[in-house]
């Protein structure tokens, strides 16, 4: 089975979740798969940096948190309109991404990992210290983003399809990006940054652009998460979360567009299924991860043949 066909099947499967939930009378499926889609979006954002630009950020959960807190904080002050919350969250993430990226992108390798981790911790500690907004214990959100009569997110099914639609938009955007000139440059930087500089590209600028774009995508997933769970907590921004999202991207396969979504699905379903059997499911996950790194460098998605290898 080729990847393209498999991808379409997976997307169709996600699209039918609300029907299945209704048939089996399990509204919980909407929450579960909604969460999978949301983390999938975040993993796609992280992979823009990772798979395309080769930058490993251990702090990207901070942008998810910014998105989530955009909803939480505005609600706290009585602003419910999604038309305010969403642009605010995206703008805040873009700004934060610009500042964090401007400093971090100068560094490489382990130094880059550590500095993004440090920034992530910064946001986490600030958030957990903000008592009015719940800190680590979190804060419930009473109403979801209000988009007037255009969209009622209180309807669980509608919310699910909203999330799904945004995922599709993300996939489309990232697909177009990877084929555009900008995408070519970013890929070249990942392949060999000094070579790109030797060709005359100001690589810093492009890495920064990729950083800001990935921050915005993660923030969007945060905006969705706050709406799905009706809850926001500083725990959304820990370095462990950032690590988990990286795992999702790499598990699925960071060299492909669709891989991160597969990785997210695999990881979260695995958690869901195995935690029902044993509380010690993590002991299987560890070795599985090691095995995948050792023997499946292209991730799970790499098991399927890719229709378009460059020896065309």
């Amino acid at each position: 089975m080729s990847r393209n066909i498999a991808a379409v099947l997976v997307l169709i499967a996600f699209a039918t979740v609300p029907l299945i939930a209704k048939v089996f009378d399990q509204p919980y499926y909407l929450t579960l798969f909604g969460r999978i889609l949301i983390y999938g979006i975040c993993a796609l954002g992280v992979n823009l940096l990772l798979g395309s630009a080769g930058l490993v950020s251990f702090g990207h959960a901070m942008f998810l948190g910014i998105g989530a807190y955009a909803v939480g904080v505005t609600e706290y002050y009585g602003i419910e309109s999604g038309f305010v919350q969403w642009p605010l969250g995206i703008a805040a993430a873009a700004l934060a991404g610009l500042i964090v990226g401007a400093i971090s992108v100068r560094l490489t390798g382990l130094y880059f990992i550590m500095i993004t981790l440090a920034f992530g911790q910064l946001f986490y500690f600030v958030a957990s210290g903000l008592a009015p907004f719940g800190g680590d214990d979190g804060m419930t959100i009473d109403t979801r983003s209000n988009f007037g009569h255009y969209l009622n997110l209180n309807n669980e099914t509608l919310l699910y399809y909203f999330i799904f639609a945004i995922l599709l938009l993300c996939l489309l955007f990232l697909h177009r990006l990877s084929h555009s000139r900008l995408g070519m440059i970013i890929a070249g930087i990942r392949s060999n940054e000094s070579r790109m500089q030797a060709l005359g590209f100001p690589t810093y600028r492009y890495k920064l652009i990729a950083f800001v774009l990935s921050a915005v995508i993660c923030a969007i997933s945060g905006l969705l998460l706050a709406n799905l769970t009706d809850f926001v907590t500083a725990q959304y921004m820990t370095w462990q979360r950032s690590g988990e999202i990286l795992v999702m991207a790499i598990l699925g396969g960071m060299t492909s567009l669709f891989g991160p979504l597969i990785g997210t699905t695999a990881l979260l379903l695995f958690e869901e299924v195995f935690s029902a059997y044993t509380e010690h499911w993590a002991i299987i996950l560890g070795p599985v991860l090691v095995l995948i790194v050792l023997y499946l460098p292209q991730g799970l998605w790499g098991l399927l043949p890719d229709a378009k290898r460059p020896s065309r």
């Binding site: 070579r195 030797a198 060709l199 065309r312």
Partner: protein
């Protein structure tokens, strides 16, 4: 007309002086070769010209601009290109794509254009022309990793060409080449030299004599002679220094 002037270039690593007060210049369209034993500091000199290392002392003026401390990519945009001793092409891209990236570097519209870059005529047409120029016509869809050593060298040159340099730094382009491949590269360089100035570091004296209008000799970090090929070869100081170091160093390209 002088295109590049390096003056008093000095570079130290710890206690070792790799380049000591090196002076060098090259005219538009000239081929100026640098020869000398291994470890003389030729590559160090090259890296200071390209921007990978910054000199401790001295200055470099290229095309009227002071580029002494300019970042690599800015120098390239001014027209100062470099080819590497160890080929650094993008192995998992096709030959044509490799050149296209170089073409892209020259063209603008990096952020504005949303069309598929890999089928964009604005990138591919110039790339195909360069492909032909370097003699790789017919190899355009081959993955770079599948090219022969010599073809990869041609690709390197193609990529540098795509950035439209007025000066090209070539660091031992003949390294690891058999006689047939060498011939191809020499002819290619000769062809490029009609429009582009070339700083050529080489051990292969046949190539140097065939291509260079001027030769400079670098020994132990210092330029000991500069002049026309015949004059330099006949220079007793050069013969002493190069031959003295010859036994150990020469020929180990």
């Amino acid at each position: 007309m002088t295109l590049l002037v390096a003056q008093g270039l000095t570079k130290k690593f710890g206690g070792i002086v790799a380049n000591k007060s090196v002076n060098f210049d090259i005219e538009r369209g000239e081929v100026h070769a640098i020869i000398g034993p291994n470890g003389a500091g030729k590559s160090t000199f090259m890296t200071q010209l390209s921007g990978e290392q910054l000199p401790d002392e001295g200055s470099i003026v290229f095309d009227g601009h002071d580029v002494t401390r300019l970042p690599i990519h800015r120098r390239v945009r001014l027209g100062l290109g470099r080819c590497y001793q160890v080929s650094r092409v993008f192995l998992d891209h096709s030959t044509l794509d490799n050149i296209a990236i170089g073409v892209l570097a020259r063209q603008g519209g990096h952020l504005r254009s949303w069309r598929d870059a890999r089928s964009d005529g604005a990138l591919l047409d110039p790339a195909r022309r360069i492909l032909d120029d370097v003699g790789l016509a017919g190899r355009q869809h081959v993955r770079a990793s599948a090219l022969s050593h010599g073809e990869r060298r041609q690709l390197e040159l193609a990529m540098a060409l795509a950035t439209q340099p007025s000066l090209l730094l070539l660091d031992e382009p003949m390294a690891g080449m058999g006689p047939t491949e060498s011939r191809i590269i020499i002819d290619l360089i000769a062809k490029l030299a009609t429009t582009i100035a070339i700083v050529l570091i080489e051990h292969d004296m046949e190539a140097v004599m065939a291509l260079a209008q001027r030769i400079s000799v670098l020994v132990n970090g210092q330029m000991i002679a500069t002049g026309s090929p015949d004059a330099v070869i006949a220079n007793p100081v050069v013969q002493d220094a190069y031959l003295a170091a010859d036994g150990a160093a020469y020929g180990h390209a």
